[in-house]
């Protein structure tokens, strides 16, 4: 009896031992995959499903087919949802203007890439807006932009510019004010990426190019930037994702106003599904799906680039 169990155990261990290399990765992957599936992969599918329903989040969901999308995009006899239109254009503004963080970050990193006393501290202090939460950045900038009493209003007042209602109170300027606030930490991030990149630039190539008479802008463009390509790629990825994720700043600084002029898709979606306007989960999910497809375009591109790299590796 006892020998039978030991035999059984040995056989089992033998089976595991024999297949160890095949089984171990799955054992190690299981917890992460479980968590990721439950909280990320499956919810994406569920959102698609919900977007075809009308649902208040509590009662029964009613199937409405593509009605949510038709209302959103204005297919058929209706106009495109004006809030959607505003949000979409604002998202585009965010995308384009947020990319300014990359050249600005590069500029600051070139400025700071020296070896003078205290430069390390300077680099950290330049970087540190990135560490602060966007909520605090938003608050700080909304006080900076205060009408009349705000530092910004006083500075532009010196050159005779007067923005009616203040930067954030004026529908024509509010979005740009928020984007500027977002650019602050994002530029810091790009700067640190480029500082690291510059650190690894091959000094021999730089010297050789110098002997050939290259300097200044030409040197930057033909010798330095090609070597900074990996840093630029990451800067692109994080900046584009950051631009499309913008939510905290808008929520804190203007809450979508004035007159809904600063809404973006992520904020619009939140507003439709979880705010005083009621719990329109189905409509919200449809907005999220549209945003997802915009993002997917970039995700596919990023993955494609990474895959090209991977193929070269082991």
């Amino acid at each position: 009896m006892s020998s039978a169990t030991t035999n059984g155990a040995r056989a089992e261990r033998g089976w595991y031992k024999r297949n160890e290399i095949a089984i171990t990765p799955w054992l190690f992957l299981a917890p992460a995959m479980l968590f990721f599936a439950v909280y990320v992969i499956i919810p994406i599918g569920q959102s698609f499903w919900i977007s075809f329903h009308q649902w208040d989040g509590l009662g029964e969901a009613t199937w409405v087919g593509t009605a949510n999308y038709e209302r959103l995009l204005g297919i058929g006899e209706q106009n495109m949802d004006r809030k959607f239109e505003v949000s979409f254009w604002n998202n585009l503004k965010w995308l384009v203007l947020y990319l300014l963080a990359i050249p600005m970050g590069l500029f600051i990193s070139l400025f700071l890439n020296q070896t003078v006393t205290g430069i390390r501290l300077y680099k950290s202090l330049f970087f540190f807006p990135f560490v602060i939460s966007q909520v605090v950045v938003g608050l700080v900038f909304s006080w900076f932009y205060l009408p009349n009493n705000g530092l910004f209003d006083q500075i532009v007042g010196l050159v005779g510019i007067d923005i009616k209602g203040g930067m954030l109170g004026n529908p024509n300027t509010a979005t740009y004010g928020i984007i500027a606030a977002g650019l602050w930490p994002q530029t810091a991030y790009c700067m640190i990426l480029y500082l690291t990149g510059l650190n690894a630039v091959d000094p021999e190539q730089v010297e050789a190019a110098r002997l050939d008479g290259a300097k200044g802008r030409k040197m930057l463009w033909y010798v330095i930037l090609p070597q900074l390509k990996p840093a630029t790629f990451i800067a692109f990825v994080v900046t584009i994702i950051g631009a499309l994720r913008s939510f905290d700043l808008i929520s804190v600084m203007t809450n979508g106003g004035p007159f809904g002029s600063t809404r973006v898709l992520s904020f619009f979606m939140f507003e439709e599904s979880l705010s005083e306007f009621g719990f329109r989960m189905g409509y919200g999910a449809a907005i999220a799906v549209v945003l997802f497809f915009i993002m997917l375009f970039f995700i596919v591109y990023f993955l494609w680039s990474m895959y090209q790299d991977e193929k070269g590796g082991r």
Binding site: E20, I21, T24, P25, W26, F28, L29, P31, F35, F36, Y39, V40, P43, I44, Q46, S47, I50, L110, F111, Q114, V116, S124, L125, F127, P129, V131, I132, S133, V135, L139, V140, F144, N149, L151, L193, G197, A200, V201, V223, P230, A231, I234, L244, R245, F247, D248, L265, M269, F270, S273, M281, G284, A285, A288, V289, L291, F298, I299, Y307, E310
Partner: protein, 282 residues
């Protein structure tokens, strides 16, 4: 080195550079400096319209004292800590294992699973919002710290796995082959061979995730309400409505809320930057 070292340039240029550095820094940090000045001013300055001038009296201890003793701020800070620390441990543990599996072994679907983790990490939060909120309510975890931690662990695992896997891939593979030849089991290879080599990656990720989670606002608003479970990023809104238009207290509160990740950054700077810039150099 590019640009050309300042030491090789004319003394005039060197002097300009030395003067420009602190000036640029002050301009760059102007919004923060302004808020700090706000936070040490007395209430009376804002009434009299002295927003940006010299404070008429030094009220730093008074203002920060009020933040700590007359509001829910300490509670929110404590909640943030209770959310952040378990998330860091959970996400780092799960992704160290997943990264080991994806970095060391060759099997069908390896790259597919890896790319799934990366893709999931880029997804907009909004597409997860409704189902995750629903799931959390269903589990009875709405407005609890556990509910937030579970989600954060799951979501951060995506980014962490990308990081860990690339790090492990760069380790010398012959080390593992040698251990296998010695007959060491795969689990022991993970624990005794790979994990000790991963210390820099573990440290870098821990600091990064600490900052990301501490600064999270969206999920705090979606999954919690009220001072029982809300972290400081969400609590600051309530704090601000308590002290409506009291700029000296609101700014002191904001500085307190921002401080822990800032302290973390300055203490662990090397790891933090190593984590952020992973992949910026080939």
């Amino acid at each position: 080195m590019f640009p050309r070292p300042i030491q090789q340039q004319s003394p005039a240029r060197q002097a300009t550079y030395q003067a420009l550095l602190p000036l640029a820094l002050v301009v760059w940090l102007l919004p923060l400096i302004a808020v700090f000045i706000f936070s040490i001013k007395p209430d009376a300055d804002f009434v009299s319209g002295n927003f940006w001038g010299i404070p008429s009296s030094f009220e730093m201890f008074n203002n920060y004292g009020k933040v700590f003793f007359e509001s829910n701020m300490p509670r929110y800070l404590f909640n943030s800590l209770l959310i952040t620390v378990p998330t860091v441990i959970g996400a780092v543990a799960l992704s160290a294992m997943a990264g080991f599996a994806l970095g060391i072994y060759r099997f069908k679907g390896n790259l597919l699973i890896f790319f799934m983790f990366i893709a999931g990490n880029f997804v907009p939060f909004q597409i997860l919002m409704v189902p995750v909120r629903d799931l959390t309510i269903g589990l009875g975890l709405y407005d609890t710290i556990t509910g937030l931690v579970l989600f954060h662990v799951a979501f951060q695992t995506g980014f962490c796995t990308l990081f860990m896997r690339n790090f492990i891939r760069a380790l010398p593979f012959p080390l593992i082959e040698a251990a296998r030849v010695e007959g060491i089991s795969e689990i022991r290879i993970f624990w005794y061979v790979v994990l000790p080599l991963m210390k820099p990656a573990l440290a870098a990720l821990a600091v990064l995730i600490f900052t990301f989670i501490w600064n999270d606002y969206f999920w705090a608003v979606v999954l919690t309400q009220g001072p029982d479970a809300q972290p400081v990023t969400a609590g600051i809104t309530e704090f601000n409505s308590q002290f409506r238009a009291a700029y000296h207290l609101m700014s002191a509160g904001s500085i307190v809320a921002a401080l822990p990740p800032v302290a973390m950054f300055f203490l662990m700077q090397k790891h933090f930057i190593a984590g952020l810039t992973l992949g910026a150099v080939k």
